[in-house]
């Protein structure tokens, strides 16, 4: 695949620039993954110290977004990339926005877990939320892996996972409502749990977006707002 190979440019500086900005994006992805993992850990283990870390480190994610954005603009302005290179830069600019949002959602989960940590921990340690979290974490990880590998098939699989996430989210919402009706004293906690699930569902959407950018980057095909079934990768 010609787009995977960045080593075709006459100017090797250009190659290095593109490689570096892609590596920075993935490093940012790594940080966001860890934020998400820690946020979920803080929620399920009622660990307020961990939650504090996540809230504090969100600034790092934001700082990386700004730095990568600036680097991409510099490449666009000075190198005027075309075709695959242009798509790579565009995909990176889009992906950092989604990563930053995932970071924000992780911070939200951490803040919710700070509130929940003061209440009594339920015996199942929010099993449903934990399960949803695992799924979403896996999605973010696969999306970034697909970005690193330029793997369209893996990117398309993420969109399929998103449906599962939506279903789980729905079922958590229903469950929360049931609990609230059973015991009004639980409303406060259940609202928080439902907010955490909502944040996770959003993370799933952002991961799906990143997967779409991978398809765009490799095939130059815009698959947003379309059914996955219609988007079988066309032969090159």
């Amino acid at each position: 695949m010609e787009t995977t190979d960045l080593s075709q440019h006459i100017s090797s500086r250009f190659n290095e620039d593109l490689e570096a900005v892609r590596a920075n994006l993935l490093a940012m992805g790594g940080l966001v993954e860890e934020q998400l993992r820690k946020g979920l850990g803080a929620l399920t283990d009622a660990n307020s110290a961990l939650a504090g870390e996540v809230v504090r480190d969100d600034a790092k994610v934001n700082g990386m977004e700004v730095a990568i954005d600036r680097e991409c603009l510099r490449i666009l302005a000075t190198r005027a990339p075309t075709a695959g290179d242009l798509r790579l830069v565009i995909a990176i600019i889009k992906a950092i926005t989604d990563l930053e949002r995932i970071g924000d959602e992780a911070r939200k989960i951490a803040q919710i877990s700070l509130r929940l940590a003061t209440l009594e921990q339920p015996s199942d340690r929010y099993r449903e939320v934990r399960h949803l979290g695992k799924l979403v974490e896996h999605m973010v990880h696969s999306a970034l892996d697909a970005f690193a590998r330029m793997d369209v098939d893996a990117a398309l699989r993420i969109a399929q996972l998103d449906r599962q996430v939506d279903e789980e989210y729905e079922s958590i919402q229903r469950q929360c409502v049931t609990f609230m009706m059973e015991d009004p004293r639980q409303i406060r906690r259940m609202l928080d749990v439902s907010w955490a699930a909502r944040a996770l569902e959003r993370v799933g959407d952002h991961a799906t977006n990143i997967g779409e950018y991978v398809v765009y980057m490799v095939h130059g095909q815009d698959i947003r707002h379309r059914n996955i079934e219609d988007v079988e990768p066309r032969p090159l």
């Binding site: 590596a23 993935l26 490093a27 790594g30 940080l31 993954e33 690193a148 793997d151």
Partner: protein, 436 residues
């Protein structure tokens, strides 16, 4: 006979034949020319056949060309045989190498100077979730994205491995060790250390839980002993035993307390962030406490050469400094001196305690910070230490990025110095008078 002589003779024969014909026909020059031409054409034909044979790369049916040509053919065949033999040997060796790395229980990933994956074995693929050939040429930091690992990879200190959990296998712990070699190339060695990490955690938990559980029965015993000591109806002959029992119970409480402190220190990971601690004030207070003891050396002095504060944990630093001073005071005879000093310089901040005690034998110094290590069993048991003081000091210093330096001359005394890095120095409290 030599082949080249034969060839020469052949040429001479051809020329002679030409000459004879020339003599017969009377056109010597023409006949000689024809003879030479025929000879050359014959040569060229043979050369052509040789080249043709070589081009075919089919060495199984060599042409028989006679004379020197056969020599060339045999030589080529010999070279080819040797080449094939060496190639075979290399291939076998490579296969063996590949199979043996595949059989290794550890993951191995070879990286080039740009950090791109060159080769990896099966275990590495399993542990890091690498996708076969597709992943060759991808930078390792694009796939292993943990911030901790990126920091380790970008750094230059590869003396010890990095232990972390990967998102591909959240339940297991992997030890990742980068080994640089050649010109910028690196080997990434991956080991599954889950068992090790779990055992270590179990050990820590055990120490913490055991000390905690031992504390409550001990409190009961100490309470009854106190009552007994104050009870006048108790037979007088039990006075001394009860006093001794109380002393030992106190000592035990001390040991348990120190164990708990140690396990708490161990439980915390990484360096402390902490706030600025006014070391000078803390040391002045410690000196006062030391002077108030019934048994103490003739003089306990404190030299403050810097009003700079130290970034760290107040309680931990206090316990470290108190332990060092406590040791010095305990082991220095009544007529000796103990001197404390706090100063800062280019290298960082330093705290030292010098005593004129019995000193420590050189061979004991490296083992001094081990738990329950005794230089001289009789002596320290009598003085009632827990044997954990210096272990606590070492842990506290580790958590502050510092280190402990021990210098001692037997019979003259010892100096314990704590070194803290520059980044731990905080400016003095505003408005305080510097120097004294």
């Amino acid at each position: 006979m030599k082949i080249w002589l034969l060839v020469l003779l052949k040429l001479a024969g051809v020329l002679a034949l030409g000459l004879v014909f020339g003599l017969i026909t009377g056109r010597i020059a023409l006949c000689l020319l024809i003879a030479l031409l025929a000879y050359t054409v014959h040569r060229i034909w043979k050369l052509h056949r040789l080249v043709h044979w070589l081009r075919q790369r089919n060495y199984s049916n060599p042409p028989s060309l006679g004379g020197m040509w056969d020599e060339i053919v045999t030589e080529v065949l010999r070279l080819n045989r040797r080449k094939r033999y060496h190639k075979q040997r290399l291939v076998t060796m490579l296969h063996e190498l590949r199979d043996s790395t595949a059989a290794l229980p550890d993951g191995v990933v070879l990286l080039n100077a740009r950090g791109e994956i060159v080769r990896f074995n099966r275990m590495a693929a399993e542990m890091l979730d690498l996708h076969g050939r597709k992943d060759i040429g991808i930078r390792i930091d694009n796939l292993l994205r943990q911030p901790e690992f990126l920091k380790y990879l970008a750094g230059s200190d590869f003396s010890s491995p990095k232990v972390l959990q990967t998102s591909t296998a959240p339940e297991s712990w992997l030890s990742l060790h980068v080994l640089p070699y050649g010109e910028g190339q690196r080997i990434l060695l991956i080991r599954n250390v889950t068992r090790h990490v779990r055992l270590e955690a179990m050990r820590k938990d055990f120490v913490a839980n055991a000390s905690h559980e031992l504390r409550s029965p001990l409190t009961v015993i100490t309470g009854y002993l106190e009552t007994l000591a104050g009870d006048e109806t108790v037979n007088e002959q039990f006075g001394a035993p009860i006093a001794e029992m109380r002393r030992q119970a106190d000592r035990m409480a001390g040991i348990i307390g120190d164990l708990l402190v140690l396990s708490r220190l161990e439980a915390k990971e990484g360096e402390v962030e902490g706030e600025a601690v006014d070391v000078a004030a803390m040391l002045a207070l410690l000196r006062k406490e030391a002077l108030a003891r019934p048994r103490r050396p003739a003089s306990v002095t404190l030299t403050i050469d810097s009003q700079h504060r130290l970034l760290g944990d107040d309680i931990e630093l206090h316990s470290a400094f108190a332990n060092l001073l406590d040791n010095a005071v305990k082991y220095t005879p009544a007529e000796g001196n103990v001197a404390m000093r706090w100063w800062t310089d280019e290298a960082g901040a330093h705290f030292s305690v010098t005593d004129t005690g019995p000193g420590i034998p050189a061979e004991s110094i490296p083992r001094l910070t081990e738990r329950f290590y005794r230089v001289d069993t009789g002596r320290s048991r009598a003085s009632g230490g827990s044997g954990l003081g210096l272990a606590i000091v070492k842990h506290v210093l580790q958590r502050h990025g510092g280190q402990l330096d021990i210098a001692s001359v037997e019979g003259r005394g010892s100096t314990f110095t704590c070194h803290f890095p520059r980044r731990r120095i905080a400016p003095p409290v505003a408005g305080s008078n510097t120097g004294r």
